[in-house]
């Protein structure tokens, strides 16, 4: 953990990798916050006209680095050289003025202003104090045209735009500042599959004009497609700089990110799956406009996976089974007893637990300590005469933290301070405390780094081995195939295929979830 020998693996960039001049150079940048050393000696070199990818796990320091570049934070030590000059941006406006624009993941647009007003927010063209609306609209149109999106009307309210449109507006704002470096923080996260292609086209046009792009993504395939060079961060340090994006082997990148060589590491399937009695029986479940006639069953100790695109109704099915949505028709039975529709309480009482899709907004009390989040569904059981028993809760939570290898172990810390993977462990751990017989998992590994993923998979497998039924929804086909015993494929609100995981492969499932499937009419 000391010195910079970790950087010794730094690859010298091949001369042919990029042609442009170095526009940005960071040397030994350090940034500490009370209790944490967020950046601990970062090296970064970005050339004009290149797409420089920043890779790292959650907590590696990517976000802090972005904020240093964007002028939100000032580094404690080290040098930031911008176009050959040492700089220290006092505030985001200063960074913006010198040509560094940042597009955050949660786009910082004003929803109720028009496209043009957002593009020129804070630097509206004025005359005598009045905003020159016509001029502003004209220039916005021009910039949008440059981005290949002339079809977006400058007068349209941003609220009315889809996510991809909003992202284009953010980029237009960057261009309105004559940005020479655009930092994109996980831009593809908000986009649908086909929109990513469009994003890449825009990025290529920008780089062709000599603009440098720092591209941050979790998705290796995107980095391979759009990136020129890659810098890898781990624990606030550069562990590898300027690797060629296309040629560097995946295992190399992953090992520099994690210090371990892992990909999708699924625990070995047990030699024989011990499948118990039927636990969950769903018949003809229907919600108008979301899904229709969904029937499925989960046995004790069985992992059932649902694969499907967003909008296929998969998450909605899960939430309806759990009672978070009220079914229009059909029934949900747990161990033979029909559950009252639309009642989470009834589902929990019957032994269901759910880890919802949006951890932060649907599952966690971020400001509350870990143990209170772990016992959120069970604190009533430890209570006596309505008085909570905090020490017992902490003990139970400690046990869960131990079992799930939660980091940190101190269960009195606020959940806010945990990484995505550990937060997910808190949510899953919550249901390990009760007599949960059936666990519903909606995108359990979203936003979870590679190492924590493997641990979560292990946990899910163990649960199943202990006789818990698991119903799993995931966008990641390998995850569904690698974990589940049986797989349901959903498309447009219907189950189009049910089969043992062993009978399906990735391509088949992908074909099924996309329209125009070969398997139309296959036995469901």
């Amino acid at each position: 953990m000391t010195g910079h020998d970790a950087v010794s693996g730094t690859d010298v960039p091949p001369a042919e990798a990029t042609a442009g001049d170095v526009v940005l150079r960071l040397t030994d940048v350090v940034k500490t916050f009370p209790g944490v050393r967020a950046l601990d000696g970062v090296q970064l070199e970005v050339r004009a006209g290149e797409v420089h990818c920043l890779l790292g796990q959650n907590g590696a320091g990517k976000s802090t680095l972005i904020k240093v570049l964007a002028g939100v934070h000032r580094p404690d030590s080290g040098h930031v050289e911008w176009c050959g000059e040492p700089v220290g941006f006092a505030n985001p406006q200063a960074a913006m003025r010198s040509g560094i624009a940042t597009i955050y993941q949660e786009l910082d647009l004003v929803e109720d202003l028009s496209v043009a007003e957002n593009v020129f927010l804070g630097h509206e063209p004025r005359r005598l104090g009045f905003i020159r609306r016509g001029h502003m609209a004209g220039r916005t149109r021009q910039i949008l045209g440059r981005l290949g999106h002339a079809e977006i009307p400058p007068g349209r309210m941003v609220r009315a735009l889809p996510a991809a449109g909003k992202q284009v507006v953010s980029m237009a704002r960057a261009l309105s500042h004559e940005a020479r470096l655009i930092i994109m923080d996980e831009p593809s996260a908000v986009l649908a599959h086909d929109e990513v292609g469009n994003l890449f086209r825009i990025i290529r046009e920008l780089t062709a004009q000599g603009i440098a792009v720092i591209y941050i993504s979790h998705r290796l395939e995107e980095i391979r497609e759009i990136g020129d060079r890659v810098t890898v961060l781990k624990d606030g340090r550069t562990t590898a700089a300027n690797l060629p994006a296309r040629e560097t082997p995946t295992s190399d990148l992953v090992s520099r990110m994690t210090g371990r060589t892992i990909e999708y590491v699924f625990p070995d399937r047990p030699a024989e799956t011990v499948v118990g009695d039927e636990l969950l029986q769903v018949d003809g479940l229907t919600r108008a406009g979301e899904f229709a006639d969904v029937s499925l069953s989960v046995r004790a100790g069985e992992i059932v996976g649902i694969a499907g695109l967003v909008g296929s109704g998969r998450s909605e099915v899960l939430e309806t089974i759990y009672g978070a949505r009220t079914a229009g028709a059909g029934s949900v039975r747990m161990a033979g007893r029909t559950l009252r529709p639309g009642s989470v309480g009834a589902a929990v009482k019957a032994g269901m637990g759910m880890a919802p899709e949006e951890r932060k907004s649907q599952a966690l009390l971020l400001g509350e300590p870990i143990y209170r989040n772990v016992t959120l569904a069970t604190f009533g059981r430890y209570a006596r005469f309505g008085f909570t028993d905090a020490s017992r809760e902490r003990a139970e939570a400690d046990r869960i933290a131990e079992d799930l290898e939660m980091r940190p172990r101190d269960v009195r810390r606020a959940v806010r301070t945990l990484s995505g993977g550990n937060q997910q462990k808190v949510v899953v751990g919550r249901w390990l405390l009760g007599d949960t017989k059936l666990l519903l998992l909606d995108e359990p590994t979203r936003g979870v780094d590679v190492g924590a993923r493997a641990e979560l998979y292990q946990v899910i497998r163990q649960l199943a081995a202990q006789g818990v039924g698991v119903l799993l929804v995931s966008s990641e086909v390998p995850e569904v195939l690698g974990l589940a015993d049986r797989v349901l494929v959903m498309r447009e609100g219907r189950v189009v295929r049910t089969a043992p995981a062993g009978e399906l492969d990735e391509n088949t499932v992908l074909d099924l979830v996309m329209a125009g499937s070969l398997m139309e009419g296959a036995p469901a």
């Binding site: 916050f33 944490v36 959650n58 907590g59 976000s63 985001p92 955050y104 949660e106 910082d108 996980e186 908000v190 649908a192 599959h193 979790h218 998705r219 290796l220 395939e221 606030g236 995946t250 295992s251 694969a307 759990y322 978070a324 989470v344 589902a347 009482k349 759910m354 919802p356 899709e357 949006e358 907004s361 649907q362 599952a363 966690l364 009390l365 400001g367 509350e368 300590p369 209170r372 569904a377 009533g380 209570a383 309505g386 909570t388 940190p408 101190d410 009195r412 810390r413 606020a414 806010r416 945990l418 995505g420 937060q423 919550r430 995108e443 979203r446 966008s475 990641e476 390998p478 990735e506």
Partner: protein
């Protein structure tokens, strides 16, 4: 194994963004397992209990400062220890009614709501329990009436909000108007005098040299503290206010709990109505004027998040006492009520600012910046 392309290449398009790494990145990093022992000891200070404790210390500091100002400006009075003691009791008596209302308000606000109708409920309960008919049932009947009326109005508020899906602000604003209207109707706009010596005695009785009203305040605050910090009800309150969706998906009956919060607030108003009626030996529809604002202001300077999910009873109590002390300070100096109100407004702003600057450590600033910019 490493030859295969990474499995992520077949990731399906996802419409919703993954969990924002910006926030987790900051703090999730290198959580010091090595220093776990030290952080364990310090975690009280840095953790959930510490922030509230620091804030309360700041409020006590404000109280001390007000005491010093009082002593400096009226040294003639403050030189008499008997007077100082009597004055402190007088401040606590002054704080007692709003204090009881504020305990209920703290629960409602931690639970993610707001109750603008507390002043009106106090007035309605006060008027209802001092009608000639109610007074004929004696002190017990009056207390019963005030408490049931308070809880019933709370029940209506809670039902409208939890099951009628009205915004709390609107539902309780409507109740504010309606309850005062009903109070005016019942009282025919007259001041109703309480003839009951037991009720009136509540305000004039001392036990061991301390007024009964102060005991009532202490009892309500203590009960509120226990309820919030040591019971499942309190835990549910924090959960419902902090993240209603998470609470719901964890199996908590959010609607029922929301309803109960307003009933609790109504109960506090009923108790306060008895106390205020006893103090004024009468009730009228215009009584408890703007108590809702006093209570909300006290809750805010007490450090409770107006958005819910976090707050302290003790902080709210200190907030109420600070306001009562300011009133007292201006009274003993013979200064005008207008100046007093301006200072109260300033105190609200200053208290929040101090808490942010002095005790919102850099990391909190950082976190807030993250939340707003990323």
């Amino acid at each position: 194994m490493s030859e295969r392309p990474p499995a992520t290449t077949t990731q399906l398009p996802a419409q919703s963004p993954p969990v924002d790494p910006a926030e987790t990145e900051e703090a999730g990093r290198r959580t010091p397992t090595a220093t776990a022992g030290a952080s364990g000891r310090l975690s009280w200070w840095h953790g959930d209990g510490g922030e509230g404790a620091k804030r309360n210390l700041a409020l006590i500091g404000v109280l001390l400062a007000l005491f010093v100002i009082g002593a400096a400006t009226r040294s003639d009075l403050y030189s008499n220890p008997d007077w100082v003691w009597a004055n402190m009791l007088s401040i606590l008596k002054l704080a007692s009614v709003v204090g009881v209302v504020t305990v209920g308000m703290t629960f409602v606000i931690i639970g993610g709501g707001i109750d603008l109708s507390v002043g009106a409920i106090v007035a309605l309960a006060g008027v209802w329990c001092t009608t000639v008919a109610t007074q004929s049932f004696g002190a017990g009947g009056m207390i019963f009436t005030a408490i049931i009326v308070g809880m019933a109005v709370g029940l209506v508020n809670g039902t409208l909000i939890a099951y009628g899906r009205l915004v709390p602000f609107i539902a309780t604003l409507a109740m504010l108007v309606a309850a005062r209207g009903l109070a005016a109707e019942i009282s025919q706009k007259q001041t109703q005098i309480s003839q009951n010596s037991t009720i009136n005695g509540i305000a004039s009785t001392d036990l061991l040299g301390i007024p009964l009203l102060v005991y009532i305040l202490a009892a309500v605050v203590a009960a509120g503290w226990v309820l919030l910090n040591r019971t499942t009800f309190g835990r549910r309150t924090v959960a419902v206010g902090g993240n209603p969706e998470a609470a719901r998906l964890a199996g908590i009956n959010v609607k029922l709990h929301t309803l109960l919060l307003y009933v609790l607030s109504g109960l506090c108003c009923g108790i306060a109505a008895i106390m205020l009626t006893a103090q004024a030996t009468s009730a009228q529809a215009a009584m408890a004027n703007l108590y809702e604002l006093d209570a909300i202001a006290a809750v805010i300077i007490g450090g409770t998040l107006l958005s819910g999910g976090r707050g302290t009873i003790i902080g709210s109590l200190l907030g109420v006492i600070i306001f009562a002390t300011i009133t007292n300070l201006f009274a003993i100096n013979g200064l005008s009520t207008e100046a007093q109100n301006m200072v109260k407004g300033g105190i609200i702003v200053a208290a929040v600012l101090i808490q942010q600057v002095q005790f919102g450590s850099l990391s909190q600033f950082f976190r807030r910046n993250r939340l707003t910019t990323s």
